[in-house]
Structure formats: C-alpha cells, structure tokens
C-alpha cells in the first residue's frame, strides 16, 4: 500500500450557487406512467426497485396515465385545486402581513401544495397527520377556518393557541392535525406511537408523519422508522424532498448517491418515490400506502420529490445560496397548473371557473385577515395574560399560582 493517495474530506456542493446558471440536469426525470404498481398488500422485499423510480401520473399534456392512475372523482380533484389555491392565496397574503409588521414570522409552501392537499383529501377523518410547518395545505384542504389561522398567526386575543406558539405552529385536533413545534423531527415517533395505539385498540385511524428531507438526518427519523417496522404500525411516512433545507441542499442529508425513499429498504418497508408536484401521483401513492396500513401490513415511506419555490421563511433570502431562477427551471412544474390542466382536459374545469375560484379565495382570505386584524395584530391584542400560566400542567402548582400573582393576574 505504499503509494496510495492521502485521504481527503468530501464536502458536498449543490449543482449551482448564486451566479451559476440554475440546473437540474443531474436529475433523471422519467416520463409519467412508467413505474409498476405492485399489490399494496405484497411483500416489501419484492419492491426494492421502487425507491429508485419516480412515480408520475400526469403527463406533459395533463393526461393521467399508467398503473398508478388513481380513481379520483372530479369533485375531489376540484377540492384539491381549491385547497392548493387557498394555500397559495393565504400564503401570499400572510407573507405580506409579516412584511407589514402584523406578525413575527411566516412560512410559505409554494410549489409543494399538492402534497398535503391530496393527502388530506384521500385520507379519512379519523386519521391523524403529524405535520411540518410546510403542509398547511392540509388545513386548507380540510376547511379549517381561515380566521382561526389568522388569529393564531397574529397571536391575538382570539388565538386558539392562546398566544403561546410561534405563528403557523398550529394544532387542530378536530381536523386531524397534530400539534406542531419548532423542533424538527420530534413528532415522527409520536405518529408511530399514535398509530400503535390505534392498532392496539383495534380502531381504524392511521397516522401520516411528515418530514422535510433535511430533517431525515435527525436520529428521530430512524427511531420512528425502526419502531414502525418492529410493530408494523399503520403509519405513512411522507418525506417532502423540496431540495432545500434552509440553505443546504438535499445532498447534505445524505442522498448524493441514493434516494430518501431508499431508506425504506433497510427497515423492510416499501419505499415509494413520487412526483410531489403531481396531485394524482401523490393521491395514488397515499391511497396505496393507506390500503397497506389499514390491512395491518405496516408502514410505507414515501418520498415526495418537489421543490421549495419560496424562501425558507420570512427570515430567509434564498438568493444568497441558490440561483435566483432555480425555481423556474424546476422540471416537475407547478402542481396547481398541472392539476388545472388535467381538469380542463377532462372537461371538468375551465378558465371562467378558475377565475371565479381565484376571486372567491382572494375574498375569503381578505375577509379572514380583516377579521383577524379587527381582533388585533401581533402586540396590539393578546389573550389574557393569565393564559401564560395555564396549561403548563393539567392543574397549576403553587409556583405557577404564586408567579401569576406576582405578575399581577
């Protein structure tokens, strides 16, 4: 071994940085309809090819093709379109509200709206989603009252979370939306525990656990997958691979040479890699995994391949770390546009309806923001101060009672 070269440290770099031309040439994007669809009750060991494919249903012309083409009613698809557009309208308005100083923080999910929208609509009301901050579309799809969202974001007197939580870190039990938190990854294992409990009780609710692709690097991700595999918990893991984690690209989460869906193999779980900008593909993969979970066959890991079009949050300026036009060169298109095109092609949608929907949503969002503003924006209205001391325990102990007195409430 005399003349071997010295060791060298590899530091991953994304294909393009500011100043470079945006490129996704390194991605291999197959056409729609090409991936086989095994029996959802089949053996995971026979599905080890799937994590390295890309399940797509909508082709370039907006046609639904191939074995993964789901049976979705036009009605459901219109609901999906509405949910995505509501998400986008709300995001835009609230992002602006932040710029106007009405709240401290906001996060958009532009480009990724299809994922929660489709999943919220194909899963059932007894199922529970364990969200990330990037899947507010779930609430939009399930018609969570916009004004409650606005009040939470403004931390005002009508905030359903009583002023305790950062904007958009919602909790909405009745809408199948588990309590969000700033800590990445920590709820993945809750989803598994929740699903285990559901199975233990012989109920039929399954869990959906979201994770950004960057978050998969946390130990929690592995622990959750391990528990899910061991107890065959009825849970769907949804990795939203939007290519970026704040400023670091997906390769920094360990997939320069593999895929996130590929992680499934090591746990004996099916892993699906899905076009996340394709509403129908998202729905189809989710239905497949749900059918499997409900049949006591356990968990599925789905990687949704997508792109984070906006900045990470209101605190972020993505032009500092990626080419400004990168979003435009994203090869999987705009999920809204793709579903719209499909509906139009089916004769279930048209320009007039679309304009009307946009106008309706705009009005709805405006009205909600106005209603929230009437209660008050951040700092101009809050829940009673006593709320600060409530909910720490089921019943406050002497410390909280004393401190509350000291705080004068």
């Amino acid at each position: 071994m005399a003349n071997r070269p010295p060791l060298d440290l590899h530091i991953p770099e994304p294909p393009a940085r500011p100043g470079d031309a945006a490129t996704f040439d390194h991605l291999d994007i197959p056409g729609a309809g090409l991936v086989r669809r095994p029996d959802p009750l089949g053996n995971a060991a026979d599905m080890r090819d799937l994590p390295f494919e890309l399940i797509r249903v909508l082709d370039e012309d907006g046609q639904a093709v191939g074995p993964w083409k789901p049976e979705l009613s036009p009605d459901l698809m219109r609901k999906g379109l509405r949910a995505m557009l509501r998400t986008r309208a709300f995001d835009d308005r609230l992002f602006r509200a932040h710029r106007q100083g009405k709240t401290s923080f906001y996060m958009k999910s532009t480009g990724e709206e299809a994922i929660p929208a489709a999943q919220a609509l194909v899963l059932e009301s007894g199922d529970m989603c364990f969200p990330t901050y990037r899947v507010m579309g779930w609430l939009h799809a399930r018609d969570y009252p916009l004004v409650d969202m606005v009040n939470q974001i403004f931390s005002n007197a009508d905030d359903p979370l009583r002023g305790r939580q950062l904007p958009i870190l919602f909790s909405a039990r009745d809408y199948g939306f588990y309590s969000l938190s700033g800590n990445l990854g920590t709820r993945l294992g809750h989803a598994v525990g929740w699903a285990m409990a559901s199975a233990y009780r012989g109920q039929d609710g399954i869990a959906l656990a979201y994770s950004g692709e960057g978050t998969t690097a946390e130990g929690d991700f592995h622990e959750a997958l391990t528990f899910a595999a061991v107890y065959r918990a009825p849970v769907i893991f949804a990795v939203t691979n939007n290519q970026w984690a704040i400023s670091s690209f997906a390769g920094l989460a360990g997939t320069e040479n593999t895929t996130f869906a590929g992680r499934a193999i090591g746990y004996g779980l099916p892993g699906l890699r899905v076009d996340g900008n394709d509403f129908l593909a998202v729905a189809a993969a989710t239905q497949w995994a749900a059918e499997r979970a409900r049949a006591n066959k356990g968990a599925t890991l789905i990687e949704f391949f997508t792109y984070r079009v906006a900045g990470h949050s209101t605190s972020d300026d993505p032009t500092r770390y990626r080419p400004r036009e990168e979003g435009e060169s994203w090869p999987l298109g705009d999920p809204v546009e793709r579903l719209r095109q499909h509906l139009v092609r089916l004769g279930e949608w048209d320009a007039r309806l679309h304009e009307a929907l946009l106008a309706e949503l705009d009005a709805e969002v405006r009205a909600a923001v106005r209603a929230g503003e009437a209660v008050g924006t951040l700092g101009r209205s809050k829940p009673p101060l006593a709320e600060m001391f409530e909910g720490v325990f089921a019943e406050p102990d002497w410390r909280l009672l004393e401190q509350r007195r000291e705080a004068g409430v």
């Binding site: 800590n183 598994v192 699903a195 528990f227 089921a394 102990d397």
Partner: protein, 338 residues
C-alpha cells in the same frame, strides 16, 4: 396488606393498573418476556399479554416518542428506561415534547406518560449505571418528578403517577429495591422484611404527588431528602444523636413547599441531601427556597451534602456516595453554627 420489597411493590402497582385500565401499556428494553433487568415487570406479560407489556428496540428516544404519541391518542403508557443514565437520548423528547405538548397545543393534546427508571449508585455500576439525573428534569417546566423511598410509597406514588394527566419522571432508587439501604455499606445488608413501610395494601391506592412525608420528627434541624438518601439521612441522625426532622420529599415537582417551610421555621436549621453531584444539583433549588422563605428563622447556613462534582467512579463508589458520615458532619456543623 402484603409485605413487599420495593421492586415487588412497583411490579404490583403496574399489575394493578394493567388490570384496572386497558389504556395502560408497559414497555421498554427487556421489559416484556424477560420481565426487566431488575424484574420490575416480571410476570406482567404472562399475566396481561404481549400487547400490554412488551419489549422495545434499544432506542430511548424512540421509546419516549412512541409513548407520547400513544398518550396523545388516549393511552396511559408506562415506559421503562433501563437505567436513568440512559434517559439522556430521550431528553429532547421529554423536554421539547412531553413537557410542552399541552401548553403549546392550547390543551388539545397532552402526554399522560409515566417514565420509570432506576437511578442512583451504590451497586458498583460505574459511571453509566449510577447517576441521579433529577435536577435536569426538575428544571423543566411541564414535567413532574417523583422519587419514592419505601415500598408503600413506591406503589402508591406510581399509581398516582400513572393516573396523572401530566408527564411524570418516576425515578426508582435502585439501591432500595431490595432493602432500606442506609449507606452503611460495610454492615450486613438490610432487607425490607419486617419494615413498617414494606406493608403494602393489596390493590389500588394512591399516594398523592406533591405531599412530603415526615420520615422522622425532630426539633433541631431539618433534613430534606428523597429516595435512597432518606434512609442515609436517618442513619446519620442515629449516628449523631442530633434531633433532626427528616423530610422525605417524595416528589420534587410538585414540591411540598409548605412542609419544608413549616419544618425549617420550627427547627431554624436545614441540611439538604442528594446523591447527584452537587454543583447545579436540585439541592441548590431547595437551599435557595429555604433561604428565601425562612431567612429570618435560620440560625445557620443551609448546608448541602451531595455527590462530588466528578463522574461516579467505579472503584471509589463509597468515597463518592454521600454517606451517613458526611451528612453527620454537616449536621454537626449546622448545630455548631449558632
């Protein structure tokens, strides 16, 4: 009534709760078929079935995360962490999730979990089988921390913890599992046989969280202790002949502040005792509270007796352990200062 050692009392509490409430699940590493490395869950799987009491992967974070999710779904999980030293991989789950879930969700979700874990030294377990981590839990708002010192309390407190809707860290002084160890390690080891507090009622009863117990009434100095150190403190009292009141806190969150203030107001002196290392330990909180609330009663500085600020060393375990001699010396100092 049955005479039980502490490990049997804990087992009994779990058995009672598994029988009473189908929402109770017991799980952890080696907890199921085997019955736990300390036998706390012995027989429970055979008795209640593998879906009620089962083994888990070796993943403390995963165990607590699953427990929280189960709790949010409506169960009352009672996970075991094999040694308290190994609770740290789950610390984020306990602090960022279990403790905060109710608050941050506006009361929509909460985590009614009871995390059992043996803590403390004196078994030649070395650095990573001997630690006492109560301070890092007591500081966390939203967690309750309970530490029994007798079989009677162990069962009653554990039942109360399981029934409690808040997350509870239930630290079991492993040195007390088989007998009321008082720190005199050179003497023949006592068992719980014949001990009054080993008389444990059959079936369900609670010892409420947050009520201290006066382990010994006394007039001249108050000793605040919990877990193993209650017995060690009693030994120090015996050795010195000082008429100390020994308060067994039983839970450090919630803390029975009234019992503490009442006693120190009477005695005017206080020694705080724990096995964990001293600096930044829970003794600091106790000492501060006493000083803040009984300042004008105090006739001597509040003393702390604790483990040294070193890891728990295998060969020097009895040098590390704050035994009756060190507590006795503190008692004497406190009594002299007057």
């Amino acid at each position: 009534m049955a005479e039980l050692n502490m490990i049997r009392a804990i087992n009994d509490a779990l058995d009672v709760m598994l029988a009473r409430d189908p929402a109770v699940l017991v799980f952890g590493e080696d907890v199921g078929y085997f019955g736990g490395v300390f036998r706390a869950t012995d027989g429970l799987q055979a008795h209640h079935g593998a879906k009620r009491c089962f083994d888990t992967p070796i993943s403390e974070g995963g165990i607590i995360a699953a427990a929280i999710g189960m709790g949010a779904q409506g169960l009352r999980p009672v996970p075991e962490i094999q040694f308290a030293d190994y609770i740290l991989p789950a610390y984020d789950q306990l602090v960022s999730e279990a403790a905060r879930l109710r608050y941050r969700s506006g009361g929509e979700f909460w985590a009614p979990i009871t995390v059992r874990s043996p803590y403390g030294g004196g078994i030649f377990g070395g650095q990573t089988h001997s630690q006492s981590p109560e301070a890092i839990f007591a500081h966390v708002t939203g967690l309750k921390t309970v530490i029994p010192s007798t079989p009677y309390d162990a069962k009653g407190l554990l039942i109360a913890a399981i029934e409690c809707d808040d997350p509870v860290i239930f630290l079991e002084p492993k040195r007390l599992y088989n007998g009321p160890f008082d720190g005199r390690h050179e003497r023949e080891l006592a068992t719980w046989t014949g001990h009054a507090d080993a008389e444990v009622p059959v079936g369900h009863y609670r010892v409420p969280l947050g009520e201290a117990r006066i382990a010994r009434e006394g007039e001249h100095v108050t000793i605040l202790a919990y877990g193993t150190m209650v017995h060690v403190a009693l030994a120090a009292v015996e050795d010195t002949g000082i008429d100390a009141e020994v308060i067994d806190l039983r839970s450090i969150v919630p803390l029975d502040i009234e019992a503490i203030v009442r006693s120190v107001s009477k005695t005017g002196r206080c020694v705080v005792v724990h096995e964990a290392s001293r600096f930044g330990g829970f003794g600091g909180e106790l000492s501060s509270l006493v000083q803040e609330r009984c300042f004008y009663h105090l006739e001597a500085p509040v003393e702390r007796v604790a483990g040294w600020d070193t890891p728990y060393p295998h060969a020097f375990e009895w040098d590390y352990f704050p035994g009756p001699a060190r507590i006795g010396a503190a008692l004497c100092r406190v009594m002299e200062n007057s």
